[in-house]
């Protein structure tokens, strides 16, 4: 097959609707199982089903694990610190979305 301009690479979407196993999550984040299990225990991640023997996660967990790892490594904080940072980051994101919407009322985009 020739690689012409039209042959764009197609990938697989990893979103809230896609499920991955604990092994897949660990592999995608290049982390050991214990690290990811500790994140679940800390409340950073929530497995989809309550069945503890076969944890499933949404595919967006990959980004979350990676962010938690980055925060711990770069800011030299422990897991609890990373969990708190993520929780606050989530809240900021929600408030930002709300704020941007409200600001548009005062500053019309037209």
């Amino acid at each position: 097959m020739t690689m012409g301009k039209n042959s764009a690479l197609s990938g697989e979407t990893l979103g809230e609707e896609e499920e991955i196993s604990l092994d897949q999550l660990c592999q995608a984040c290049a982390q050991q199982t214990e690290i990811v299990v500790a994140m679940v225990e800390e409340g950073i991640l929530k497995p989809l089903a309550a069945d503890a023997t076969h944890w499933r996660f949404t595919a967006t967990s990959i980004r979350r694990v990676r962010t938690a790892v980055r925060l711990q490594r770069d800011l030299e904080i422990n897991l609890a610190g990373a969990a708190l940072a993520l929780q606050l980051m989530d809240r900021i994101e929600r408030l930002r979305t709300k704020l941007r919407r409200l600001e548009r009322r005062d500053h019309p985009g037209f």
Binding site: T13, G15, E16, A28
Partner: protein, 316 residues
């Protein structure tokens, strides 16, 4: 190659203790870390801080760096003196290649060459899967409605034969699937790092972010838009045109709508198995009283309409 004053970057004296250096780094890392920072060029600044810390926190690297002398200034053209590092030994197994790839030429020249690529070469006959790579990709709201192709440039860290780490520019043409949402990723199988000894290549993960849009705010799968309406459109009801990413639609504004009323266009948000909704936030725009006709008209409303906007303030 430009000299980098790592002490200046961290804002510490040359005789700072390890503890001073750690404290200075942590403070700057919290300020500039791309995950938590509001600064516009956070990523660039964080890289500089991380590079400085990588050298100054490590007694071996710091001692070697100090040998260069105090007379160098940031940005000065610099070549390491021959044999500058004679007598130093770098253990340096404590940080990842992925990190190092973002560091400056200056760092690379001083410390990069000591990594002889051991793990890559591996014992004969060893096969291993390549590393997964991760990158961010910015897409437009419209891309999610119809799907699109995006050309993206990636800087891929690569180890040269003599163990230098370099960054190679790589361009990929990637299909953005219809229905993509912020926070999702796209996995491209086999587009990550090359495998070892004929092993399978790693995957490339593209983390999807949306570009800010002039009209739309995206909230998960839903889209919000503010729509200006005239007072009479809100009061009497009207059919108005609304530009949605999937095309212009006619929207019925019910009579007696208020400022801030929300109207929902079901299923007109981002597409997907369960498509999002499109919310229209009505904003009543007042006609300006900038001529006699308009002024007379407002005066007539004041006379004719029994309207007290402050009726709920308790009789002020």
């Amino acid at each position: 190659m430009e000299f980098r004053d790592y002490y200046e970057v961290l804002g510490v004296d040359r005789d700072a203790t390890e503890n001073d250096i750690r404290k200075a780094y942590r403070k700057l890392a919290r300020k500039y870390h791309p995950d938590v920072s509001d600064e516009s060029d956070a990523e660039e600044k964080f890289k500089k801080v991380g590079e400085a810390y990588e050298v100054l926190k490590d007694p071996e690297k710091r001692t070697a760096y100090n040998q260069l002398g105090e007379s160098w200034k940031t940005g000065q053209d610099f070549q390491p003196p021959p044999g500058w590092d004679a007598g130093f030994e770098f253990s340096g197994a404590d940080f990842s290649r992925a990190n190092e790839a973002g560091f400056s030429d200056f760092f690379e020249n001083l410390f990069g060459r000591h990594y002889q690529g051991g793990e890559r070469a591996g014992p004969a006959g060893f096969r291993g899967r390549g590393e997964d790579h991760h990158a961010k990709i910015l897409v437009d709201v419209e891309d999610s409605y119809v799907g699109a192709s995006r050309s993206i440039s990636l800087r891929v860290p690569e180890l040269t034969q003599d163990g230098h780490l370099t960054a190679r520019e790589r361009t990929l043409n990637v299909r953005i699937p219809k229905g993509i949402r912020p926070g999702q990723s796209i996995r491209l199988g086999g587009q990550g790092g090359a495998g070892i000894g004929g092993g399978e290549s790693g995957d490339l993960y593209l983390e999807v972010e949306f570009k800010p849009h002039r009209l739309y705010e995206i909230d998960a799968a839903d889209i919000h838009m503010r729509l200006p309406v005239a007072p009479w459109e809100a009061a009497l009801g009207a059919t108005v045109k609304v530009p949605t990413p999937s095309g212009t639609v006619e929207l019925k504004v019910p009579a007696n709508s208020r400022n801030g009323s929300k109207l929902r266009l079901k299923g007109r948000g981002l597409p997907g198995k369960i498509p999002g909704d499109f919310y229209v936030d009505l904003q009543v725009a007042l006609p300006p009283a900038n001529n006699k006709k308009a002024k007379d008209f407002y005066a007539e409303m004041a006379r004719e309409l029994e309207f007290d906007p402050r009726a709920n303030l308790g009789g002020v």
